[in-house]
Assembly symmetry: C2
Homo-oligomer: 95 residues x 2
């Protein structure tokens, strides 16, 4: 599963939690956070703390892999990334 938004992450976490037959309270204890936190994460809270998120994934046994290869043929940061354009524009746009 590719994670690109907090919602994606929430889905993954919730899915795994249920698969493990854990309720939010139990999971919260495993992770070391409040039940509230679990609820919000599963709902896709965008401003959750990085470390807690990583701990949650770890607690659930969900490995997170980054940068296998950027075939990026779908959209946001796209493949080629016009470095020249970026740099140039960035420099110009100093104002």
């Amino acid at each position: 599963m590719l994670i690109r938004t907090p919602a994606d992450l929430g889905a993954v976490i919730r899915d795994r939690r249920k698969r493990l037959k854990l309720d939010q309270s139990s999971l919260a204890k495993q992770i070391g956070v409040s039940r509230q936190w679990v609820i919000e994460i599963e709902h896709g809270h965008p401003r959750a703390e990085l470390a807690l998120v990583l701990r949650a994934l770890d607690a659930l046994g969900i490995p997170v892999d980054a940068g296998g290869q950027q075939t990026t043929s779908r959209g946001p940061a796209r493949s080629g990334v016009d470095i020249n354009a970026i740099v140039t524009k960035a420099k110009k746009g100093k104002t």
Copy 2:
């Protein structure tokens, strides 16, 4: 690269940024955050906001994959996760 800590993430981001020949300011603009933020992330800031982190990875074209399959034979959340134990203990431990 497996991401398990904020530091791992910082390393990945910095690496990719340099690979793309972007300076922190430019990247910050790409992501839509302050230069400060980029600096802190690259230093492994543990409490960064999830959404910003995902946006950074996205901007750098770094795909994030979670839960390919939990062959989990290495450590943190352990492989089999003793559901019974967890649930049972959790229920007991309500205080």
